[in-house]
């Protein structure tokens, strides 16, 4: 059996089944299954294989296998292992101390700790550096106070990777922290998305204890690395291929739809080709994938006509697709990044 076939069969047999389009568990039982799923993926070396061997990485790790796993998880729309655990682990390995890696990585591998990313605030969305959550020294550590929002799985996470202000400098006044979300001074309230699912949360911090990660004043570097890693971690095209195949199966052989179906397929195939190029700009892939997802979902609803208006998969898919042009950098921010950094146009 090829590695891809092995991963596909494992994912099909073990991935927790969430409601259509859900990004998080609905209850404690689903959360427990999510932890087990995370532990199983790490145990088989499907994720975390790229970590140092001392921390559980796979000796002789083959990077091309990471891409296969990312594609298969995406195609199956399987839950992300450990929430933001893999992203947090990347930050710990790149910026953390050896002691921090020893403290946090084992619990990510075992599924004991689910993580979330605490970056956005009500007044700091696309303009992340405008954030106001403050961190002040408190003997051995820091205390953080502020209000974070749009935190995916904030209500389920055990730990958070936090960006907070330690000084007045726009970028060098920012620092990264690890926050224990079960500690006093932390209150997470679920927020419902447009689909009605409680998929994200707002997190209120009131003097909660926090541990610096990567040195005071280096928060912007940590945040940038996290966002880049997040875009690289999850393949975009495989799920679009699955969505297109489902759309075709639904429509059946109606010649009146061929033009639209064919155009969408061409775009999905071209995006897949772009994503597989080693030199592809992740911002370009993310921009194109987000917009294509919105169009695919809208097309599915349009072609179903009045009969589709109470079809849960179509309705949830349509509404939820709009997350992909917002989360992880809005399309507008990505266009500006591509124009300035990629094309060298004046800022």
């Amino acid at each position: 059996m090829t590695f891809r076939a092995e991963v596909r069969s494992f994912v099909a047999g073990h991935a927790p089944a969430w409601r259509p389009g859900a990004r998080g568990p609905a209850d404690e039982r689903e959360a427990a299954a999510w932890r087990e799923w995370t532990a199983a993926l790490f145990a088989r070396g499907y994720v975390g294989a790229d970590w140092p061997v001392d921390h559980g990485g796979t000796p002789g790790h083959q990077p091309e296998r990471d891409a296969v796993v990312a594609q298969e998880l995406a195609a199956a729309q399987a839950p992300r292992p450990g929430g933001a655990g893999i992203v947090a682990a990347g930050a710990l390995l790149e910026f953390g101390t050896e002691a921090q890696c020893r403290r946090y990585l084992p619990a990510i591998r075992s599924g004991a700790d689910l993580w979330c990313v605490l970056f956005s605030e009500p007044e700091a969305g696309s303009d992340l550096a405008a954030l106001r959550t403050s961190a002040v020294p408190d003997g051995a550590g820091y205390r953080v106070t502020g209000h974070k929002v749009w935190t995916t799985n904030g209500q389920w996470a055990d730990r958070g990777l936090l960006l907070a202000r330690t000084g007045s400098g726009r970028h060098d006044g920012l620092s990264a922290f690890v926050v224990d979300l079960r500690a006093p001074g932390v209150r997470a309230v679920a927020l419902r998305t447009v689909t009605g699912e409680p998929d994200f949360a707002e997190v209120h911090l009131d003097g909660a204890p926090a541990e610096p990660l990567g040195g005071v004043g280096r928060g912007w570097a940590v945040a940038t690395a996290v966002l880049v890693r997040e875009r690289a971690l999850f393949a975009a095209a495989p799920v679009l291929r699955v969505l297109w195949e489902r759309l075709r199966a639904r429509v059946g052989d109606d010649p009146g739809t061929h033009g639209e179906l064919g155009r969408l397929r061409a775009e999905v195939v071209a995006l897949g080709a772009l994503e597989e190029e080693p030199t592809a700009d992740p911002a370009a892939v993310k921009l194109r994938a987000g917009e294509l997802r919105v169009r695919l979902a809208a097309c599915a609803l349009d072609l179903a006509g009045p009969a589709g208006l109470d079809d849960e998969e179509l309705v949830v898919g349509y509404l939820d697709s709009h997350a992909y042009t917002l989360g992880g950098g809005t399309s507008e921010i990505l266009r500006t990044v591509i124009a300035r950094r990629g094309l060298g146009l004046p800022g």
């Binding site: 195939v269 080709a273 772009l274 124009a339």
Partner: protein, 312 residues
Amino acid sequence: MTAVADAARDWLTAGADWTPEWVEAAGMAELLTGGGTYGDLLAVARVAGEVASPIPAAGVALAAAMARSAGLAVEGLVVPAFPEPGDGWPVATRDGSGVRLTGSVAAVHGARWARHLVVPARCGDDEVVAVVEREQVAVTARAVLDLTREFDRVDLDTTTARVAVVSVDRAVEAHFALYAADAVGAAGAVFRSALAHVTTRTQFGKPLGAFQAVQHRCADLSVALAAADAAVRAAGAALDSGDRNACATAVSAAAAYSAEVCAEVAASALHLHGATGFTWDHDAHRHLRRVKTDAILGGTARWHHERLATLP
């Protein structure tokens, strides 16, 4: 880019006053039979588009390889004369001792300069490759949209064709992909020119490229172009794999996507040059004409969309 592309760029750039003999001397006919891949073939087509070359370089390589695989000898400049999808294929009929070849091909790049034409045809239930001498067929020059290449209509009614039964699937797919690759090269060239223009042209006291409306349009165009380029490379890889379904999907996706996206890139690039871009003396329209011609030949986007909707 590849060594093949770099070599092709040097050679094609030097070939403004080309002759059939010059193409022959360069060994373009041996590209595919001499160890080159379909990826290399598309790289040559892409560069031809980029430098707006008048030479049917990749076509020569494809036609020569088809004749070789069919065991039919050719000499001098040899170009592919492929019908557009939707047009009927030429028909070969065994006629006593010889073969009669009839039909027509709407647009053949460089037919007027060729010694031989390579034509896919139907012969009863068989697909065949036919080779005819250009002097035995009617070649009519067409004044097409594109000013950088010469296209002719070819009408066939001859008993002098030589034919061999051999599958032409892959060559037909490759021929579609040549136009996609050419479009990517040509659209990329005019887009880079537009980028240079918006970086230097100042209005309202700052470069055009500092305005968000211009930046976002450029970002969209560059992403679309990168995806079209990747799709063409993936089509090359699929052609090299020889897998029939993979070829059909990858080629039609590259052809449909390039047709729409590259035409939009070239049109927007002309627009971004401002009124200067609308003048005869500026090269923008030459690129736009070439790209739009590429978009229509080798199957329109509409034809490839229809095919993609039903391919497995």
